[in-house]
């Protein structure tokens, strides 16, 4: 993953006002909603996509398992295919290349900080430069909101393991907010547009098994030091990533039907030219067996 150093640097380098004096680091009770770090990266120069994906799964993933600390869940989403912008664009308006999106979930923000900012720097925090082009990372700290779907997976589905309600094709849809839209309205507009788009897309309505809005947390606003650390220059800001699950890659056409309907919805709430979606294969690195 594109490493966790960013959080470290947020608070060590950037947060001068909060560094006014030292307080008691005793913990307080947090919420039950996991907070996630979602990092989209592309491979460093010279690596093939297969080499990159092999490295992050088998080497970087192993490091994370060995240094789990307070990570609740860690999945890698290995990119199979994707599209950037719209058919109406003559050229790409953003980096049109992603090889993986990793998701690290924590019970609380404090747990995230304590994991990503350990007293002794972790091996994982040093590893990103060996596989990722870190200055083009897109990092979003997000919280989930489940969106009900008309036909969730309820029964046996071979190959999907022990987790219910997911499929083996996971689509990550990075939707850039239209600059003119207030953030609170943007989420409402998406909910409305999503419902209308599904209504207009019978194939997607039938095949979509699960949908989750990953809404950017405002804590993410304080990421200047991270951007500086990775030499990131004006990285795009995504206020939401929507995750869709379908049974298999065979249903990718259902998402295609859906997204065309979504982009046609009014009022406009997204900058579709700077939005993108990725068809991915989910690779669990840390995911505990659910307790009965």
């Amino acid at each position: 993953m594109p490493s966790i150093q960013w959080i470290i640097t947020i608070h060590c380098t950037n947060a001068v006002p909060w560094r006014y004096s030292q307080g008691d680091p005793s913990r307080t009770r947090g919420g039950d909603m996991p907070i996630k770090l979602m990092a989209a990266s592309r491979r460093r120069p010279g690596l093939t996509r297969a080499e990159y994906q092999r490295y992050i799964e088998h080497y970087h993933g192993s490091i994370a398992r060995n240094e789990r600390l307070k990570i609740d869940r860690y999945v890698q989403n290995h990119v199979i295919d994707g599209a950037f912008g719209t058919l109406a664009d003559e050229t790409h308006k953003l980096v049109a290349d992603r090889d993986a999106v990793v998701e690290l979930s924590f019970p609380t923000f404090r747990d995230m900080i304590e994991t990503l900012e350990p007293a002794v720097p972790s091996a994982a925090s040093q590893d990103g430069k060996f596989f990722a082009d870190e200055r083009t990372n897109v990092i979003v700290m997000a919280e989930e909101e489940e969106v009900p779907v008309p036909t969730p997976l309820t029964g046996f589905n071979p190959g999907l393991g022990i987790i219910k309600g997911v499929g083996s094709l996971k689509v990550l849809h990075y939707i850039m907010r239209d600059d003119s839209v207030f953030r609170e309205d943007y989420y409402d507009h998406f909910r409305d547009a999503h419902a209308k788009a599904l209504a207009a897309s019978p194939y997607a309505r039938e095949q979509l098994r699960r949908c989750v809005m990953n809404k950017r947390c405002r804590l993410n606003d304080n990421d200047a030091a991270a951007r500086k650390h990775f030499k990131m220059v004006d990285p795009p800001v995504y206020d939401m990533i929507v995750t869709h699950w379908y049974d298999t890659i065979e249903q990718a056409g259902a998402f295609r039907q859906y997204i065309e309907a979504l982009q046609a919805q009014q009022p406009a709430f997204a900058d579709w030219s700077r939005s993108f979606y990725l068809y991915t294969r989910e690779v669990p690195i840390i995911r505990d067996t659910p307790k009965p």
């Binding site: 608070h11 950037n14 947060a15 001068v16 006002p17 909060w18 560094r19 006014y20 004096s21 030292q22 307080g23 008691d24 680091p25 005793s26 913990r27 307080t28 009770r29 947090g30 919420g31 039950d32 909603m33 907070i35 609380t108 923000f109 404090r110 900080i113 304590e114 900012e117 919280e143 600059d179 003119s180 839209v181 207030f182 953030r183 609170e184 309205d185 409402d188 405002r218 804590l219 606003d221 304080n222 200047a224 030091a225 951007r227």
Partner: protein, 299 residues
């Protein structure tokens, strides 16, 4: 087609609003349209200064043992006073804490509910509240529609609405997004949500960042609680609590400070002092402006 009212005409999109906050932060004189508004006189009137004894209580930090954590907010529904009703300081975990109490002999819960809806609709309404430090306010189009929806009781009108205010809490002009929520969502025990424990409430969570935002500016969260109950001597008692450094996560307060980090004294004291001044002014002029404009939102 009916002419668009001022309350709708002032709507800006997000980009335009953000751009407008820099000139607003300089608190320019009222423009010609504003000067004609029926409540413009309140902008230039003299108003009372806070009681020096009250201000003195906000001078130095108090001991953390006297404070309540946000998880203890239901203590505010207990009869009587808490260990501290006026003061500020830091919780042991570094969060900023502010308590303030104001007594308003001539204010009612109806006035409070009306005010927290009415003042959102244009800059001048926010500026007259406390002209020295209040610069402007904006709603999103959807929030504006809810605020103007008369089918929703005034006490509930702000639930789910974000006020984008520009104000100076003694650390420079900031844009603060204050998202108001219901008392239930704030964590209050609704089985006790009645008088004499409580008359009304306005609160939620906020994110504040300097108007003159730089790349490395901090966007700081806080929980805000204004809870009102009848005062035995008549009128209403207003108790404010802030927990700076906290946000809500899945309906529960969550500390966002990294280990060892403390909210700066200047930020906590500054907000505490601002609170005393703005609500001293508010208690003085709310009964008068309510008499003129209360019961309606358009002017």
């Amino acid at each position: 087609m009916a002419a668009q009212t001022r309350e709708l005409a002032v709507q800006l999109d997000y980009t335009a609003w953000l751009k407008s906050t820099k000139p607003k932060a300089d608190r320019p004189p009222l423009d010609a349209e504003e000067a004609k508004r029926p409540f413009a006189k309140y902008y230039s009137e003299d108003f009372p200064k806070p009681d020096p004894a009250h201000v003195a209580k906000m001078d130095k930090p108090i001991d953390s043992s006297l404070m309540i954590h946000p998880e203890q907010l239901n203590d505010l529904l207990n009869p009587g006073d808490l260990a501290v009703e006026i003061g500020w300081g830091h919780l042991p975990n570094g969060a900023g804490f502010i308590a303030n109490r104001m007594i308003y002999p001539h204010v009612t819960a109806e006035m409070v509910d009306w005010w927290f809806v009415w003042h959102t609709l244009e800059d001048l309404r926010y500026r007259i509240w406390y002209p020295p430090q209040h610069a402007g306010i904006m709603l999103s189009p959807r929030s504006r529609a809810r605020i103007l929806d008369d089918s929703i009781p005034l006490a509930q009108r702000n639930w789910g609405v974000t006020h984008h205010v520009t104000e100076d809490c003694n650390c420079g002009m900031e844009n603060i997004d204050i998202s108001f929520i219901s008392p239930k969502d704030f964590g209050f025990d609704m089985s006790r949500w009645k008088e004499p424990f409580v008359s009304t409430f306005a609160g939620g969570y906020g994110w504040a960042v300097a108007v003159d935002k730089k790349d490395d500016s901090i966007t700081a969260p806080a929980l805000m609680c204004h809870i009102f109950r009848p005062h035995p001597g008549g009128g209403i008692e207003h108790r404010t609590r802030f927990w700076m450094g906290y946000r809500f996560s899945n309906g529960k307060p969550e500390l966002t400070l990294p280990p060892g980090i403390k909210v700066p004294d200047a930020a906590v004291r500054g907000l505490a002092m601002h609170n005393v001044h703005e609500f001293t002014r508010w208690g003085d002029f709310l009964p008068r402006i309510y008499k003129e404009h209360g019961g309606k939102l358009l002017a």
